[in-house]
Symmetry: C2
Subunit: 406 residues, 2 copies
């Protein structure tokens, strides 16, 4: 990149919906994704929900020629599902696992088991240091009564903090992923305000794709139509965000999404649409000020709004911690009563009636089961309370800093 | 800090041994620590094992006058136990929880419940940006047969990676904490080699304290004498490490440790000795090269050694994953056999003998218990395998980078 010439970077982002045994036509779609990526030759590919390591290895094998560098981020029971393919050497990587990510007992939602995380890879292209982040936040299963909102906000906050702290030596920051938040949601405003990241869709000179840039659309044959009823056009929850930190400028020349099917075929890549951006990176004479995207008085409002939601989550977690603790204590008391009764029988009290061995044993087992389960849940909700309190305090500290600034 | 004058910074580091109900004379010792800190007026205080938030709040109340800025890092069920008191404003914080930290079923060791982490606070003093890290790694319960070595190595690796990635805009990096590793251990060499951090004890112009700088000594009335039998002088596992990144130099003018009792009293602060350093920070004409502490061929050996140990841990974790999975399958089979027998009785087979309700129910409950327990453990060890594999791969990548350099 000499003189006025800009570095051109083509980025592909997709939530691949690659759940083994559950996602429809998975292997066929992974093949299709691999073929398209090989044909199109992007510079950077950011994928989510590649939960089968076999799928990753297949992609790696297929893409080795045109994307010689790649990284798979391992975490949680199932894995983070995050991976990156790159034309340029990956210099270093780091994984940050979000401290809260749903509940282990919500097995039908499964988010907890994925160990949702943000992955960072550092790439140098033509002497420019790129910090590339890929992430996937907790899903939203019911927008009207979103029980996971506090957890998603903690994740958005931790994502912003992680980017702020790790990107200080970068020239350009890129973030791609399924954020599971609509563009106007408080979590997106928090993330963008705290990091100064710009939305490729909003900034693109030229756009081609679904109306409003939606990435979850009723037209896609794999999406849940009932879920999208309130949104006839669909929703935009997959993003490519960027910013320049040092003496560079980044502009989005073109943004595209798929429109319900993969180009030239009749099946989609996934239940999500792919987002493809073409960025121009240009060196400029003087160092760009690392501006925050949102003016500070507005930012204070956003942090306050997020803090309120985290506070609501904290109250719920405290109630759960209390009720599971009480349940454990009750189970323990029942066991103690049973132990007393058993001892009484042993020393010869109440021998006029036969001892009800079967119902006694069943009750004891039930009590032990409840005790173990309630204790486990109590410990889980204790951790949840701690993390929500920690985030609330960090937000309070950020608010103080925002208010103290002249 | 003008011209040639150096900034002088006094740092206090202590593992406080503040386990509620278990640590001896805890409240008395916390009082003593608070009084000493107030009297001595350090610039920075890095504490570990402050597990009771009440203790932290007491310290905060007492120290508010001389250390107006402080932060408590919340994580895990019990908490990370980490906190920082500072004379200078804390600009920002970040917590990174280690991905592996022992086993939940090793309740007697308890490390898993603490959510061991590294905490970062950013402080600006006289225009110099300090990244201050405080951490506490997994304890070593048996040096001869250290089952936790792979986990501690993963933590040392993640600590190094976290420092590398978050400290790029800092002028000076400080790390204090109980690393639970002897100075020559592979984890310390890995951490120091990867980050370039220098050991305040080794670099100190003047030292005063326990021989060899030991921080766990037989003379301390709270230490386990049997554990220290192979080490008559004690062991050094608490550290203050530092480095300058940009155009600064850091020198350790003085390092002190307590010697089994708190100064002027007859009881110790804790079962660990406190480490106190006086650092001089000086601006120098040209930017210091961010040197890694260890020459690269040597560093490759250190990474290889660490990778081997992580590999040993990986094999053990894979065995555990397999045996817990097998146990779960066997319990499930037993339940199926029982269900078949019960069904057989219901349809009238084998009615010549009375159905053994009690033993049948007990067996079924035992099978359900084993199934749940084995499944939980299987999921846990699956995560463990993933994280060990992830670290091994990162180490491999680092090795390749070391070997490829000219």
């Amino acid at each position: 990149m000499e003189g006025d010439s800009a570095l051109q970077l083509r980025i592909f982002d997709l939530n691949c919906w690659g759940i083994r045994y559950l996602s429809k036509r998975r292997q066929e779609r992974v093949e299709l994704i691999g073929d398209t990526l090989r044909r199109e030759g992007f510079d950077l590919v950011l994928l989510q929900e590649v939960w089968s390591e076999q799928d990753y290895n297949n992609l790696k094998g297929k893409l080795g020629g045109c994307y010689p560098f790649c990284h798979y981020f391992r975490s949680g029971v199932i894995g983070s599902g995050l991976c990156i393919f790159s034309k340029f050497p990956i210099l270093d990587t780091l994984l940050y696992q979000y401290s809260l990510n749903g509940y282990p007992y919500m097995i039908q939602h499964g988010d907890w088991f994925c160990g949702k995380s943000v992955g960072l890879v550092i790439i140098k292209i033509s002497g420019i240091i790129f910090n590339v982040y890929v992430t996937h936040l907790h899903a939203e299963y019911c927008r009207e009564k979103d029980a996971y909102l506090p957890h998603r906000l903690v994740q958005a906050w931790e994502l912003a903090q992680f980017i702020r702290h790790t990107s200080k030596a970068a020239d350009v920051v890129l973030l791609g992923g399924d954020l599971n938040m609509h563009p106007e949601d408080v979590g997106i405003r928090l993330l963008r305000g705290r990091t100064g990241l710009q939305d490729a869709f909003a900034e693109a000179t030229h756009f081609e794709g679904c109306e409003d840039g939606c990435t979850l659309i009723p037209k896609n044959c794999f999406t849940d139509k009932a879920e999208l009823l309130p949104f006839p056009l669909g929703v935009r929850i997959d993003y490519i965000l960027y910013k320049a930190i040092s003496s560079f400028t980044v502009t989005c020349k073109e943004l595209k999404t798929t429109r319900g099917t993969a180009p030239g075929t009749d099946i989609p890549f996934s239940d999500h649409e792919a987002v493809m951006a073409m960025l121009h990176i240009k060196r400029q004479g003087q160092a760009a000020r690392d501006t925050l995207g949102t003016a500070e008085p507005m930012m204070a409002d956003v942090v306050t709004e997020a803090q309120t939601e985290v506070g609501v989550g904290l109250q719920a977690a405290q109630r759960q911690r209390y009720s599971t603790g009480r349940m454990a204590v009750l189970a323990l008391l029942l066991l103690l009563v049973q132990a007393t009764a058993a001892l009484g029988t042993l020393v010869g009290l109440g021998t006029e009636q036969p001892f009800p061995k079967l119902s006694f044993s069943l009750l004891a087992f039930a009590a032990i089961g409840i005790l173990l389960l309630a204790t486990g849940l109590h410990l889980f909700h204790t951790t949840e309370v701690k993390m929500l309190q920690g985030t609330e305090e960090q937000m309070r500290m950020a608010l103080r800093a925002l208010q103290e600034r002249p």
